[in-house]
Symmetry: C2
Amino acid sequence: MTTKPIPAPAKKRTSIGSRRNPEAEAAVLAAAKDLISEKGYAGFSVDEVARRAGAGKTTIYRWYPTKADLFIAIYTAERSTFVPVPDTGNLVEELVQYTTSLWRFWESHPAGAALRGLIAEAQGTPEALSALRDRFLPDRTADVRRMLSGGAARGELQAAEVDDKVALWVGFSWFKLLVGELHDEGVIKSVMMQIAEVRRDS
Amino acid sequence: MTTKPIPAPAKKRTSIGSRRNPEAEAAVLAAAKDLISEKGYAGFSVDEVARRAGAGKTTIYRWYPTKADLFIAIYTAERSTFVPVPDTGNLVEELVQYTTSLWRFWESHPAGAALRGLIAEAQGTPEALSALRDRFLPDRTADVRRMLSGGAARGELQAAEVDDKVALWVGFSWFKLLVGELHDEGVIKSVMMQIAEVRRDS
């Protein structure tokens, strides 16, 4: 809360430029989380976020130039709390634990709906596509890449295979998210065994 | 072309029920193809399809109750012509040929944009999600399933692994479509080797 007098409407807040008010920012993010959880991608609009947060649309666009930026902010805000990165020294075990945590996180937090929204939005605008591919993905696949590289260092797979396996892992997890089958945890183990190239009979 | 007199505006065409006029239907599909190619998912609307095709919105909705139905129709109309199903008796070879044809088809025909639209739309409405998962997917993964089952029959993999491998294949191909990396054909071979569980050094 500030004790400064409220600026006269004529001047508005153009003078503060892109400096963010943390309280207003939290309100915007909370409203965006609620809205994507309640209404999903089809019912998500910056207008409605602004209305619920009591914020100006211009302000929101200054902080989050596109819907994709807002979806990434929703996702990132909660992610690290709920998806621990296992380090057991066994690649299949690590991939299974991690994928299970991630799918549960997607199912039970606004992040899942936000990621579905981000992917959908990326099919509509080049800006969103670039945000997804060039900004979101490298960050969000770093953990899996680290686990796979660890496996390669232990000789469980070849280092040259890591990129392909990251793509297989992301593709599989997105596929289950996008067709609404994250509850189908039973498939995780056998698919992770295939990604890690552990034969069923071995 | 019909030689019947044009019905008076007051009666319109309500009496023909859901019977389709093939010429009008072709015009709608052609307009939908052009529009998704030109404007992508974000610029696609039934209003604009109706305007371009000179058709009524009500008629279009009668034929294609949702945008998802229209995307599936665009996709299906061209698919069989451009994606041959190889039968060489070598699983990796078959998967590589098929995936390469499919990616090229997605890149160079309205079908690719239509599939991106269908997946995006499925993130917004339960009807579109069901159309994608329950109607589109089983049809569109039948070829890959057949190739993998053929490999299993020849002893190249275990029959119990086919479902997981279909999911890995779909996930990987969708992922490349959704991030706009279909031109990246160089990755196909090594990823198909991993899906088929052929080790690089074997």
